[in-house]
């Protein structure tokens, strides 16, 4: 499934936003993505999960070139996107497309569906000969489960699911090799969500396209992805195959995240095995020293404050950024000393 050479490789990627100083607030830099390394191979689907605000979308925006990285590299097909001449970069950008979360905001309301799709070929002349445009639009619409008579309509005449299909058709129009799905199904109804997920899988089977699937929805990621990376406060805490992450999570944050996902038999028992984390996610303006998760972790010790854990395989079989990874679920009673963990 996965080739030898990764299609997309993020190496120690840092993306920061500058904050302007305001009244009673000093200026500063928010490192929304603070050193992330991640690979996506051809034909593979990689899930990136984490809470809102952890930097998932910033990674997406950096990969597609909407935001400039302030450190590290984005390598696509072995080439550093930051070091390419503008012309080659433009050509290469075609290979990486994005599907946004909100299909109501991501389509130009003044353009018909046909024009939305043809725009890709206007921007990249030579991709599809002009006389083939109409046929190609029909083919793309059919490909994503719409009909050719939809071509003349405007985005506001479609439902959310249909609009997301249009977004996908539009992304496919430039024949990309990687599609970044930034919460692409989060705004959709459950039934429509399943349809779009099936469409994405079908497209991957037929076209061999890779996905970087960004979501906060663990169920969706489990359904779709081959590999999963878990992110917390700008860093990746654990990566592994779908089985490794869902069956034997080693990082306490992953364990807490998975335990919080609703499951079908929750109603059967009064007692829940949900790990409830106390406190809020610290501000990315001043992240904790050492391990970024230590302020909410029930396994935290002095070492976590002093030394930042690097992602490494620690008898876990997959990379984990934790000094004390454990396969075991946390204790069933209140955490021994700190009281940081409560069980319900």
């Amino acid at each position: 499934m996965a080739g030898t050479e990764p299609l997309l490789e993020l190496s120690d990627l840092v993306t920061s936003y500058r904050l302007r100083p305001g009244i009673g607030r000093p200026g500063g830099e928010v490192r929304a993505v603070a050193g992330v390394s991640l690979t996506v191979h051809a034909g593979e689907t990689v899930g990136l999960v984490g809470e809102s605000g952890c930097g998932k979308s910033t990674i997406a925006r950096t990969i597609v070139g909407l935001v400039r990285p302030s450190g590290g590299k984005v390598l696509f097909d072995g080439r550093d996107l930051g070091a390419l001449p503008a012309k080659e970069l433009r050509r290469l950008r075609r290979d990486i497309q994005i599907v946004f979360q909100d299909p109501y905001a991501s389509l130009n309301p003044r353009m018909t569906v046909a024009n939305l799709i043809k725009e890709a070929w206007r921007i990249h002349p030579g991709l599809v000969p002009r006389e083939r445009w109409d046929d190609e639009v029909d083919a793309l619409l059919e490909r994503v489960g719409l009909r050719s008579e939809h071509a003349g309509r405007y985005p506001h005449q479609f439902s959310g699911g249909q609009r997301q299909r249009i977004s996908i058709a539009r992304a496919l129009a430039v024949r990309p090799r990687l599609i970044v799905c930034d919460e692409a199904v989060s705004a959709l109804d459950v039934s429509v969500r399943a349809q779009i997920l099936n469409l994405l899988q079908e497209l991957q089977r037929d076209l061999g396209v890779s996905y970087l699937f960004i979501s906060h929805d663990l169920g969706v990621v489990r359904h779709l992805c081959d590999r999963v990376a878990v992110m917390y406060l700008g860093k990746i805490v654990e990566t592994g195959s779908k089985e490794e992450i869902y069956r034997s999570p080693a990082h306490p944050y992953t364990q807490a995240l998975l335990s919080a996902a609703p499951s079908l038999d929750d109603w059967r028992t009064d007692e829940s095995d949900e790990i409830v984390l106390t406190g809020d996610v610290p501000s990315p303006l001043s992240p904790p020293t050492g391990c970024r998760f230590r302020t909410r972790c029930w396994r935290a010790q002095d070492r976590c404050r002093d030394e930042e854990p690097a992602p490494a395989e620690r008898d876990t079989g997959h990379p984990v950024a934790c000094h004390f990874p454990g396969a075991l679920p946390p204790p069933t009673t209140t955490a021994p000393d700190s009281g940081r963990l409560t069980k319900e």
């Binding site: 070139g65 909407l66 433009r90 497309q97 909100d102 905001a105 725009e119 206007r122 539009r170």
Partner: protein
Amino acid sequence: MTVNVRGATLAGRLAGLPLRAHLALGTVLLFVLAGLLGPLLAPYDAARTSPVDRLLPPGTRLSDGAMAWLGTDQVGQDILAEVLAGMRTSLTVALVTVVVGGSAGLLLGLLAGYFGGWADGIISRVGDIQLAFPSLLLAILLAGVLGPSMVNVIIALAVTRWVIFARVVRGSALAVRDREFVDSARVMGASHARILAGYILPSCLPPLMVAATVQVGLTMVAEASLSFLGLGVPASQASWGSTIAEGRDYLASAWWIAAVPGAALALVVVSIGVLGDLLRDVSDPMTEL
């Protein structure tokens, strides 16, 4: 959620407008027609003088037997002819000024709103400084320096107007520039020129049109003010402002000299204002996306 008004016929949409809209639209159309066809309609040459017929009240028959519907001034010129010729001047100056100032404002507003950064800094600060200065004073200064001619009046007024357009356009461009559909065009590889023309500009046009309509009326007042002060078009060209200025000395004896162009000016400006308001109401927020 979205009301589709594209299908409605022009007649149907006109019938749905309130009465004041009809009155305003009618008045403006009447004045525009009169301005265009003025020389054909006017019974007299606007510049011809006739000392025998001076200061005649409205509705008096002249020495040559013709009717002076709106009276004559102190040199025997027909007021109706002067008002029609003044309409022409007023309309030309206002429209050209709005087109010139609007284009400059559109360009600078797009630059400021879309690119931001130092371009925005310079354009917005220059605009702020200019707005802090009374616009008529600036126009008087410019017109005084440049000398009386129609082109100079247009230049002076356009310089005072561009800021208003630039601000409107900058605001719209700023609101659209970071929207997701613009981002998706960027990811597609669209150039700045394509994004500006195809994505940003269409959203800036409706508010710009509203601003332009209102500004046509206000520019007419400004032109009349300059002419009233003797800084407008040269004396050989008729202008409402200069006619009012001439009539000022005769207000007690021949009120119609100043009153007729003054009323015409008020009527047109109020009508254009009503139309501008209406345009603002009609421009659906959904279409400004």
